[in-house]
């Protein structure tokens, strides 16, 4: 049996031409979040506490698509969603349609701990947030100049249906940002689509697992659109054998019930974590859907898998292993 393990992600499907400074900023953020998680694990915080703490950090940083820095709806506003699940007892909480709650993951946790329900959305969720006294801010707080620019581009291209059938490029090409032609989808650089949903999975030394996912959703989405991140079994899942958080093309993740399937093949087919992740990434993303996920097992293993070009990710285990990556 292993010790603790933790993984974080900042989204699957990365523009191979992402400027090196942005790649560096992403690596630093992932590293910082991993270190926050590691320190919390060493202080014996429970996995669910660690997941919440790490995701709060990701939500507060405008770099990825969650909390501050969330993708914008077609109306130019932010609507955030998140879910959290405790493998112990499979308790869960989820929220959608948040517009003024500073940390969606924490509200999801409160839904789990302090409400009789599992999932609250829109004005009902905001009302619950007020009753719980969580930190609320104006919707403007979440909106960044970068994303306003991206929304404009997306509207000009008049599409949020994006084609993930990007020809796989090698990681060496990805590092040479200046040389490669811009990677386009539906006429726009891939980075416009803001796939960088964030997530975290943790297992402690006693084998208890927890997972969480948070996002602003798709750039230029219809107001009211709900993706995979708040859906238990799709974007997030945890039970007594593993914890999983997914990111990428939301509709494909939902159809594939990706997070639940990793656990289901472990429970029902007896696969180990790595085999389960490989199986799900290869076989459950039919129709060309592109996605990635991070997962930990109760045995202390940590695995990342993705079929997209790149996934912002980091992982660490108690025996000192630590890795932050973007490409294959």
């Amino acid at each position: 049996m292993g010790g603790w393990a933790i993984a974080v992600h900042g989204g699957a499907g990365v523009d191979p031409n992402l400027p090196l400074e942005r790649q560096e900023e992403a690596r630093q953020l992932l590293t910082r979040c991993l270190n926050i998680g590691i320190s919390a694990l060493r202080s014996s915080l429970s996995p669910i506490d660690v997941v919440e703490l790490v995701i709060r950090e990701l939500e507060s940083d405008p770099l990825f698509n969650s909390g501050r820095g969330s993708a914008l709806t077609a109306k130019g506003t932010v609507e955030m969603e998140a879910s959290i699940m405790d493998g112990v007892g499979r308790r869960c909480g989820a929220v959608s349609g948040l517009t003024t709650v500073k940390n969606p993951i924490s509200l999801a946790r409160l839904v789990m701990d302090k409400s009789p329900h599992s999932y609250l959305a829109f004005s009902g969720a905001e009302e619950f947030a007020k009753q719980q006294g969580v930190e609320m801010v104006d919707n403007d707080y979440f909106i960044t100049e970068d994303n306003l620019g991206m929304l404009k581009l997306a509207k000009e291209a008049n599409s949020i249906i994006f084609d993930y059938r990007i020809p796989l490029t090698g990681s060496d090409i990805c590092e040479k940002a200046a040389d490669a032609p811009p990677l386009m989808m539906n006429g726009l650089p891939i980075s416009v689509y803001a796939q960088e949903t964030v997530g975290c999975v943790v297992v402690d030394g006693q084998g208890r697992c927890a997972a969480g996912t948070s996002t602003g959703g798709l750039m230029n989405k219809m107001s009211g659109r709900i993706g995979d991140s708040p859906l238990i079994g799709s974007g997030t899942y945890a039970c007594d054998v593993c914890a999983v958080s997914c990111t990428g093309e939301g509709e494909a993740i939902i159809r594939g019930t990706l997070a639940r399937d990793v656990a289901a093949v472990m429970e029902y087919k007896g696969l180990g974590l790595q085999e389960a992740v490989d199986f799900v990434i290869e076989r459950r993303l039919d129709g060309g859907g592109q996605a990635g996920l991070i997962a930990v097992s109760s045995k202390g293993e940590v695995v990342c898998g993705f079929n997209s070009v790149g996934m912002f990710r980091g992982c660490a285990t108690e025996d000192g292993f630590m890795e932050v990556g973007i490409w294959d």
């Binding site: 499979r90 308790r91 869960c92 989820a94 959608s96 349609g97 409400s115 009789p116 329900h117 599992s118 999932y119 609250l120 959305a121 829109f122 004005s123 009902g124 969720a125 009302e127 619950f128 949020i160 249906i161 989405k221 219809m222 107001s223 009211g224 659109r225 709900i226 993706g227 859906l231 238990i232 079994g233 799709s234 899942y237 939301g250 509709e251 939902i254 159809r255 594939g256 019930t257 639940r260 399937d261 289901a264 093949v265 029902y268 087919k269 039919d286 129709g287």
Partner: protein, 291 residues
């Protein structure tokens, strides 16, 4: 092989002392909806059309907790949700937080067919509905006292169907829990929880939403068939008896080969089914049929 159809009108603590005036209209509605479904299958309609049609019938019936009969939130409003899924393609559509849409299941189908998304909720879903024809009509809620035992789980409706060629579909619709918090979303619109279909089976669940979400009921029935090789009946029984806590859930399911399963761990479940070989059943509790 052969076609099969199963439908439910909710699982919960349905008292055996349910008076005839509360029991008979529901049995009649189940029977009628079953007939509508069977006629549609025999006429060659696709399973996706069939499940939508049957759920619309159930939504329109005031004695079930969906559409016209939806229960009220703590705010005194109605908030409906629904979900539909096609087994072959795993395309799906879901809606939540509807207040003025007469047939939530049909809006869910439109989300699947007319938008690049799977799931729309609340104001956004209502706005989408207004852009479609014929989908909003002021709902006139039929006044009905809540069941005297305070049962709040009763009444979600759903239908699963398979045609003679193994094509599967599922649809579920609900008004949610009595006195639920405004904005509460249950299992019905969550793919893999209350609603799920793939090439092996189609499932529609009912009961305590929070329990069905945690147990990923819909997906697990299919996963047990696929990963452990269980039959539909074995898989459905296992999920209801071992995965969902006692007195929280029931489901109807059909397999690509025309099997039907309708297990529940609550006192009763309003249900009905029919298969191509002529079998039909309309029932509420587990030791009687009134087919």
């Amino acid at each position: 092989m052969g076609w099969a159809i199963a439908l439910h009108g909710g699982a919960g603590d349905i008292p055996r002392s349910l008076p005839p005036e509360r029991r008979q209209p529901r049995e009649a509605a189940l029977r009628h909806s079953l007939q509508v479904g069977v006629a549609a299958i025999k006429a060659g309609r696709s399973p996706l059309d069939v499940v939508e049609l049957v759920v619309r019938e159930l939504e329109d019936h005031p004695h079930f907790n969906a559409g016209r009969g939806s229960v009220l939130t703590s705010g005194g409003t109605v908030e409906m949700e629904a979900c539909i899924m096609d087994g072959n393609t795993k395309r799906c559509g879901a809606v939540s937080g509807l207040t003025t849409v007469k047939n939530a299941i049909s809006l869910a189908r439109l989300v699947m067919e007319k938008t690049p998304h799977i799931y729309l909720g609340f104001d956004g879903a209502e706005a989408f509905a207004r852009d479609q024809i014929d989908y909003t009509e002021p709902l006139t809620k039929v006044e009905e006292a809540p069941p005297s035992n305070g049962d709040s789980q009763l009444g979600t409706v759903g239908c699963v169907a398979v045609d003679g060629k193994g094509n599967l579909a599922t649809a579920t619709s609900t008004g949610g829990l009595v006195n639920k918090m405004v904005g509460r979303i249950g299992d019905t619109p969550i793919i893999g929880a209350g609603t799920y279909a793939n090439k092996l089976c189609a499932v529609s669940a009912t009961g305590k939403g929070e329990a069905i979400i945690q147990a990923t009921v819909g997906r697990d029935v299919a996963a047990l068939m696929e990963y452990k090789g269980l039959s539909l009946k074995e898989a459905a029984k296992y999920v209801i008896e071992e995965c969902a806590p006692s007195r929280t859930a029931g489901l109807v399911a059909v397999s690509a080969t025309g099997d039907v399963a309708m297990p529940f761990n609550t006192v009763g479940m309003f249900r009905a089914c029919a298969t191509e070989d002529g079998y039909t059943e309309v029932a509420i509790w587990d030791d009687e049929t009134c087919g």
